[in-house]
């Protein structure tokens, strides 16, 4: 376990913890911010251990499905969930754009309040992952190229040419 690549992001929000927790755990709010500039649909949201959050992000060329299985819900301090990529029937499946992206990421989110602001620390580790999945996650985590269909190889070439100038 010690060798698994871990992704960690810390972010401070200018709001008390109760409000930040609400934004993360009320689907009415969650769908409004979750997803990078895309329409997000929440098909199911059960905030309890082994409860499901079924999430669809509508991209231009089709939807991206995620199945979240909550494991720990400690209001308003901590959430732990299994973050799974899914097919349109909500079966855990490889991401079509990135086949080696880990199917399951053990995700934990910790909310800490400091003088009316809230720090959120999100961390993800591949769970039950193949070697290829771990390698893909490690690459992506460090901001290096890899995965993303055939696009990366060509993009890498373009960048190499730009750098060579």
């Amino acid at each position: 376990m010690a060798d698994l690549p871990e992704f960690v992001i810390d972010r401070e929000f200018d709001a008390p913890r109760e409000l930040v927790w609400q934004a993360w755990t009320d689907p009415e709010y969650l769908h409004r911010w979750y997803g990078p500039g895309v329409e997000t649909l929440i098909h199911k949201f059960e905030l309890e251990p082994d409860g499901l959050w079924l999430n669809e992000m509508k991209m231009k060329n089709g939807s991206f499905f995620q199945k979240v299985i909550f494991k720990e819900v400690i209001k308003p301090e901590k959430l732990v969930w299994h973050h799974c990529s899914a097919d349109s029937d909500w079966n855990i499946a490889a991401n079509p754009m990135m086949p080696d992206w880990p199917r399951i990421l053990l995700t934990s989110v910790v909310f800490e309040e400091k003088s009316a602001k809230t720090n959120v620390r999100l961390s993800q580790i591949p769970l039950d992952a193949t070697d290829a999945e771990i390698a893909c996650f490690a690459k992506m985590k460090d901001g290096m190229s890899g995965g993303w269909g055939g696009g990366y190889a060509i993009i890498d070439e373009i960048l190499a040419e730009l750098k060579a100038k």
Partner: protein, 117 residues
């Protein structure tokens, strides 16, 4: 939140994804990485018409990955290297997936705080 003078450093990711999802457009970007080129010059090695190339260029332009001269008849296209690198960094590191979402959460929290008053 202070918004004056704020410029979004993130490219429109939807547009960037859409632009990069096509092999011909990626090939056009490869060509432009070697230097600026007119529509004719770009169309030459491809088995597609000039209007088709123009359409691809429009998509790339909208995504902010290239720019074109307005006042010249050739309207040569040129890679906007900084934008390209920013977009690729986004793709290469999913941290900004959370980053973009978190910026949206900032805005939502401002609204929620106002509603609570």
């Amino acid at each position: 939140m202070e918004q004056t003078g704020y410029t979004n450093p993130q490219p429109n990711l939807d547009a960037v994804f859409h632009a990069l999802a096509d092999g011909t457009r990626r090939a056009i970007l490869s060509r432009l990485a070697k230097g600026e080129a007119s529509v004719n010059e770009i169309a030459e090695p491809f088995d597609i018409s000039q209007p088709a190339v123009s359409r691809h260029l429009k998509v790339l332009e909208r995504a902010g990955l290239i720019e074109r001269d307005i006042d010249e008849q050739r309207r040569p296209a040129r890679l906007k290297a900084e934008r390209m690198i920013a977009a690729v960094n986004w793709l290469a590191d999913f941290r900004p997936m959370w980053g973009t979402s978190f910026s949206q959460l900032d805005d939502l929290l401002v609204q929620m705080k106002q509603n609570n008053k």
